[in-house]
Amino acid sequence: MSGDVIHDIGFRHYAGERLGRGWVVRSLLIDTLRGAFGLGRPARSKVMPWILVAILALPPVVIALTVLLTGGDELPVSYTQYLTQLQLPIGLFVAGAAPYAVSRDLRYGVMPLYLSRPMLRTDYVAARYGGLAIAVFLVMALPQTLLLVGALLANLPVGDQLAGWAGGLLASLLLAVLLAALGLAVAAFTPRRGLGVAAIITILLVVSGISFALSGIAESRDRSELADLAGALDPFRLVDGLTAKILGVDPAIGELTPTTGGQVAIFALVYAVVVGACGLALVRRYRKASGL
């Protein structure tokens, strides 16, 4: 910067390339993805996401060391189980990232500036959603990959581990799509960021609590099929149940998981309905409350 002299050369016109909606959506998606990890934001915004990333990445290192030192031919936790066991930090990450993605634009009235640019309302929603879903996926895929690296270093069977890892990534993908949709839908209706964070984490904890409570009640009355179905209420149990069936792996909660084809169909239906309803709510929200 030093030594630079500013010459007033007048307003310069731009005759160069103007990129289309694809570029605009991609740029907004990357902006959302970076924002979720606090990149391009003040230092204090980086603290929470990176602490959560560290919390999620630490156990795989410990697990790998354990397997290395004690031997054995399989990991103490499966890849899909790992997600369910660490649902609190994953939930917290979503609760922190989703409001940043949308609440800020609503609260400070930035929407008119987006809408007066060459994009559609749905482009905005798609880019914010896509960026958030990718961020949530990465947060889950990183520890899974560390688990794989640890397992391979410990000379566990390569084929098994690769299959388990791929299954874990599939579960992560399903979970990211679901959690991002839920988080964004809640955040879009809570323009105050703090409120959005609290609302998302509360909802995730409450549905999980209700889901387990209902399962417990059903169990105690010997209605185990209902106990299994109650799992559809909790996003983590829902995805765990689905992937366990699809992949044929051990579910995280062995006794409470869909067994019959009908139950699996209900789980799949619930998944599709929740993602669809959140998407619809978002699109409707932005059609009305665009501020323009």
Partner: protein, 308 residues
């Protein structure tokens, strides 16, 4: 700079109703390139027309074109070459002006490096220098308005729609903003549609004034026509005043004596030819013209009946 001779903005029988409320009623108006002042009280329908022009709100009936593009069907194409500065607050406080304008430049379709370059340039042109690296939260109202203007200009639009840009500014800030808008029209060569509920401030900077009230067009006039070709010119000659007046009257001009000796008189300006006739008469009679001063009718006077 002229960007084609067709009107920059044209509305034909545009009506917009929200339930029982009529925001615009059969509005037909053409606005030229250059700086156009769009005047009306709050709720007169100015912002509604802007939303229609941006292709964000379909009119209930009628058609509108902006830069030759159809507002009903070509929204994204319009928003590529048009800039918009909203009336409301629209700036997040936790980010610097530079970062924010770079981001919005990308959102307008500029490639990354171009976005950075143009954001820095544009912020400088609107008068934001070192402060542009600080978070917007600490800015004064005047600085925030400049950031809002910069984001509307960063992608080098052919036309900008500025909604009440002087709102909330103190008198000095208002003058600075108006000068800046005038420069956007003249130095930057970007057509401007600027709204205000105050006619007085727009007549200073606009080439054309459109007045609406209750969604109905009241007047659409060029300020050049309005101020120079109506009204009178005060003429003073060194000698033979009565003879000059007689000649002018013989040529069909309306002349009134303004002083006893008849050397100072007022000529009604019906068209530009009257001024030529004054010069010709003075030259023929060999008298000197001391002054020939147009008394500009103030637009404010013209619109008194409208504003009431």
């Amino acid at each position: 700079m002229l960007r084609g001779m067709e009107p920059a903005i044209a509305a034909r029988h545009v009506t917009k109703t929200f339930g029982r409320v009529t925001a615009l009623s059969d509005l037909t108006v053409e606005m030229p390139s250059g700086v156009v002042g769009f005047v009306g009280a709050n709720g007169a329908g100015k912002s509604t027309l802007i939303k229609i022009l941006l292709g964000l709100l379909p009119p209930t009936s009628g058609d509108a074109t902006i830069l030759g593009l159809d507002a009903r069907t070509q929204g994204p194409a319009i928003r590529r070459v048009v800039g918009y500065m909203p009336e409301s607050d629209c700036l997040p406080p936790d980010i610097s002006a530079t970062e924010f304008v770079v981001h919005l430049a990308r959102m307008s379709g500029l490639p990354g490096s171009v976005a950075r370059e143009r954001a820095a340039d544009t912020l400088r042109h609107v008068g934001l220098y070192e402060e542009r690296y600080r978070p917007i939260g600490g800015y004064s109202t005047g600085m925030k308005q400049r950031v809002k203007l910069a984001q509307a200009l960063v992608h080098d639009p052919q036309l900008v729609l500025l909604d009440e840009p002087t709102n909330g500014l103190d008198p000095t800030g208002r003058d600075d903003m108006l000068d800046l808008i005038r420069r956007v029209g003249t130095d930057f060569g970007i057509s401007v549609l600027v709204t205000s509920h105050l006619l007085g401030e727009l007549e200073r900077i606009a080439d054309h004034i459109v007045v609406i009230e209750g969604g109905v067009l009241q007047r659409s006039t060029s300020t050049a026509d309005a101020t120079s070709l109506s009204g009178v010119a005060l003429v003073e000659v060194t000698d033979r005043g009565p003879e000059v007046m007689a000649r002018l009257r013989a040529g069909g001009a309306q002349v009134e004596t303004a002083d006893e000796a008849g050397h100072l008189f007022a000529v009604t300006l019906t068209d530009e030819a009257v001024l030529d006739a004054v010069q010709a008469a003075a030259a023929d009679l060999g008298v000197g013209l001391v002054r020939m001063q147009r008394r500009r009718h103030h637009l404010t006077e013209m619109f008194q009946e409208v504003a009431r």
